[in-house]
Assembly symmetry: C2
Homo-oligomer: 146 residues x 2
DNA sequence: GAAGTTGTCTTGAATTATTCAAAACAACTG
DNA sequence: CAGTTGTTTTGAATAATTCAAGACAACTTC
């Protein structure tokens, strides 16, 4: 995805096009499920004057505009991804925190319904799977073999 | 639940029985889904010398022992509950953060299976429903009526 | 193409939840 | 009742995130 295409994406969302915003979108295209600090590290080479606070500001603006989705798995800092609009879920490694996308387990959002909502108006169902990623499985096997 | 019964619960889990531990268990019996600070406030009257760090220590010990379940909904600090062993889920109010228990939507834990695990060994499926609680609905209606 | 308005970025500091560490202390064992 | 082990107290440190004010840049209008 070119910077021009990313700029169009921003414009279509009614946002001003700025270098930090394009850089953050670009970084999240390459490395989804990244936290603010990782994104900061990714954009720093191309924008030497950038600050971590600017990244936080951009992430908040893009999330509010619906261009990003923010996920907050237990034990991790907030992560961001560009894949939005489809109600997909996540698979999180309990060892290293790695995140992988999982397509909706049943259907459309909310793809699940609580057995009893108790007066709540339910908007969305969030599903997180917890397990061990292939890399960490190898590492654990290695360790137990010693 | 009496303090003696709570003490037995601790002993059965192989833990030493201390006042802070009994007090924390008791507080969580009365007010489930509480964070460390709320629990600290609840136990302070009966244990004037207690510190917030002690509460954190107790919560960590009881969670490790399997007596408590720790949940970390996005936007809230860590919450604890005594209802464990059954794979129940949670309904969280996006307005005020109130949490309500929801029985498992399908069956036993993990009650859901990802469409593709991609090499991950999946242990648990966590489901969080997001919506608006009755109180906040009333408040919102009130507001829009002005 | 230039000036104005609006909103963004930079810089610096503050906040909140949580964790770490060392010494004082208390619970269970024999 | 004394010893050992593990817990609590006290005090400080850490990490992620947010707040605020001035400098600055993007889009709009002339």
């Amino acid at each position: 995805m070119t910077d021009a295409a990313l700029a169009d994406t921003l414009r279509e969302a009614g946002l001003k096009v700025t270098e930090p915003r394009v850089a953050v979108l670009s970084a999240l295209t390459d490395i989804p499920h990244s936290d603010a600090d990782t994104i900061f590290g990714a954009v720093l080479p191309s924008l030497p004057g950038t600050s971590l606070q600017a990244v936080y500001g951009v992430l908040a603006a893009l999330t509010t505009a619906g261009l990003l989705r923010k996920i907050e798995p237990a034990g991790s800092s907030a992560l961001y991804e560009r894949r939005i609009g489809d109600n997909h879920h996540h698979l999180v490694c309990t060892e290293c925190g790695a995140v992988r996308d999982v397509d909706c387990v049943v259907g459309q959002a909310p793809c699940l319904t609580p057995s009893e909502a108790g007066g709540f108006t339910v908007h969305t169902a969030e599903v997180n799977f917890w397990g061990v990623c292939p890399d960490c499985q190898s590492a654990l096997n290695q360790k137990s073999a010693d």
